[in-house]
């Protein structure tokens, strides 16, 4: 380092070079101003401070000692990188703090409880583990994703899946005669004693589902949405069918596929409101229990199911679900054959086609030399019978030659067939 400084400061710089270095320092001043402005959010007063400062320092240095000016320029140049890195770290910390502040404000506004520390630590640990596995062994990462997700969904079916499963399996009861226990009821909603006020436009309703999603746009302008807030509220109500009415206790009740009532986008967020209104035709799956000796539809704690969905959606779901299942079955069968092909080595040669199933080493020969010869014989006999000559044989000399080779009987008359669609070399030669 000392040697480097010594080498740099050994020679005096010529005055025209000083002029050029001062010009370059203006360029550096521009870059530095931009870094201060964009990353540190600092704007200078006067705004052109660095444009004056850098050339001035260089001029003063040149005036004092012409040997130091190159070193000064190098320092200014390297300072650009240091400033850039520091600026990025500063901007990152600032954005984290800002988003934390925004999240806090958002939580406070919507009364969202803080995430427990245990959950935060666990989440962080698993994220770190996934990142580590991804960097150490990407193959294992993909495999673990494929293994864990299906097994988890198998062991822990979602509430939604449970609701749609039970609505398919349970017969619809009539309110008048509904028995205690798990039941499915269909009917019209009747408002209870009080109605709720919806978050958007304060509409009077039995219940609502309100969600806020963060909108992200990728390079192609494609938008993606991440739910950052979800709120479901419902007041007690009654369900009515042709035979009677029943009270519904909405505690732990989930609302599925309600129609969108209001939706708008503002400030990088999308706000959606879905309402449960009086007179809506719905289907409910839950437990019939007794409250003050009166039958009430409520949460089923053993099967963990209690949900409501619009009846028209249930009809659509029950129509299309079997079709989707069929599609999945066919895709699985197709996937199975694709997997078999991927796990096999296929060898194709002129006289041999074979498949080796790699995991077990089993070899399946589809075509070998003998069978190839047999095929040749069959082809020959067919040619004899039909007197068919392929387009390549349109040249009479070649055809005769091939006939000799194939030992065709002399009585076979070989004709040249004109094929207008396929231009042959022979025809071209003739026209010439």
């Amino acid at each position: 380092m000392t040697n480097f400084i010594h080498d740099i400061t050994r020679f005096e710089v010529a005055p025209p070079a000083v002029f050029f270095l001062m010009l370059f320092s203006l360029l550096l001043a521009l870059v530095h101003t931009l870094i201060f402005l964009a990353l540190f959010k600092i704007s200078f007063r006067p705004s052109k401070l660095l444009y004056i400062l850098y050339p001035s320092i260089m001029a003063v240095t040149a005036f004092i000692d012409l040997r130091w000016i190159v070193l000064e320029f190098i320092v200014l140049f390297l300072f650009t990188f240091v400033l850039g890195i520091c600026g990025m770290i500063f901007a990152f910390i600032k954005s984290v703090k800002l988003s934390q502040k925004e999240r806090h404000r958002f939580r406070k506004k919507h009364h969202i409880p803080r995430k427990p520390l245990r959950k935060k630590i666990l989440g962080g640990f698993f994220s770190l583990l996934f990142i580590l596995v991804f960097y150490v062994n990407p193959g294992l990462f993909v495999l673990s994703i494929f293994l864990i997700l299906p097994i988890l969904s198998l062991i822990l079916p979602s509430k939604r899946n449970r609701f749609f499963k039970y609505q398919q399996l349970l017969p619809t009861s009539k309110i008048r005669s509904v028995a205690m226990g798990l039941a499915e009821l269909r009917g019209e909603l009747i408002a209870g004693d009080a109605l709720l006020s919806s978050p958007i436009k304060s509409k009077r309703c039995i219940g609502f589902q309100y969600s806020i999603e963060k909108v992200s746009t990728d390079k192609d302008g494609k938008k993606s949405y991440r739910t950052i807030f979800n709120e479901t509220k419902c007041n007690p109500f009654r369900l009515k069918d042709a035979t009677g009415t029943i009270s519904v206790n909405p505690e732990n009740m989930d609302l599925y596929q309600l129609d969108i009532d209001e939706r708008y986008q503002s400030g990088g967020k999308r706000y959606t409101q879905r309402l449960l209104m009086p007179k809506d035709q719905v289907l409910i799956v839950g437990k019939i229990g007794l409250q003050n000796n009166i039958p009430v539809l409520q949460y089923e704690p053993i099967k963990k199911v209690f949900g409501i969905a619009p009846y028209h959606y249930i009809t659509t779901y029950n129509t299309f679900k079997p079709l989707l299942n069929r599609f999945l079955s066919f895709t699985s069968i197709f996937g199975f054959f694709v997997a078999l092909i991927l796990m096999s080595t296929i060898v194709i040669r002129q006289d041999y086609i074979g498949i080796t199933f790699t995991p077990t080493g089993h070899n399946f020969v589809l075509l070998n030399n003998q069978s190839h010869n047999k095929l040749k014989d069959i082809h020959k006999s067919q040619n004899r019978k039909n007197k068919i000559i392929t387009p390549q044989q349109t040249n009479p000399d070649t055809a005769v030659q091939r006939a000799k080779e194939d030992e065709l009987p002399p009585e076979v008359h070989i004709e040249t067939i004109e094929l207008p669609d396929i231009p042959s070399n022979t025809t071209k030669k003739k026209t010439k």
Binding site: S177, A179, S332, L342
Partner: protein, 186 residues
């Protein structure tokens, strides 16, 4: 790499297949037990209706000169119903009792004193409610049976149903006795 992808695909298909078999099994079990539950729920109402008979007989006896042989017959049928454990027999007994209970309830139309009796009116209303509920639950039972029968005949459920030895269940039909209307007899 291809072999690894092949293994992953095979694993996913195997996992999907196992989960499908488990869900099919659970589905069949649920359908079967739904039918049993629906049947048991009808039986409960039949029992409830039978429990109303002594009170009905008592009120009618006090107010009206009702044919005593009919009342005795009804009492015997009720005792037989309570003592019986066989489902089919219970249904038969219940079906025999049904028109008798109807005529007992309908008696009030011809007797203003009985019609004015609050206790009788309450009983009449309760029996009528139970009858309605029985009708609804019969419908529910038939729906459960229908879902079960379709469930065990659908592909691929049919394969598992055959292994489990599941057979068709019969729907509840209105008996000839119930269809027959003899009018109200006293």
């Amino acid at each position: 790499m291809n072999t690894i992808i092949g293994y992953i695909v095979i694993f996913l298909i195997a996992a999907g297949l196992i989960s499908t078999v488990i869900s099919l099994y659970n589905r069949l079990i649920m359908l079967k037990f739904n039918v049993d539950k629906a049947y048991a729920n009808i039986d409960l109402l039949l029992k409830q209706r039978t429990d109303e008979i002594p009170d009905l007989i008592k009120v009618v006896k006090e107010s009206v000169n009702y044919e005593s042989s009919q009342l005795e017959k009804l009492t015997k049928l009720r005792t037989a119903f309570i003592n019986s454990t066989d489902q089919d027999e219970r249904v038969k007994l219940s079906n025999t009792m049904a028109p008798m209970v109807h005529s007992l309830v309908a008696v009030a139309e011809n007797y203003p004193d009985l019609k004015a009796n609050t206790g009788f009116n309450v009983l009449q209303q309760r029996v009528s409610d139970i009858e309605d509920a029985i009708t609804d639950r019969r419908e529910l039972f038939n729906e459960s049976v229908n879902m079960y029968n379709i469930g065990i005949h659908e592909f691929p459920n049919v394969l598992l149903a055959r292994i489990l030895g599941y057979k068709d269940k019969t729907l509840l039909r209105v008996s000839e006795q119930e269809k027959q209307y003899d009018g109200i007899r006293f």
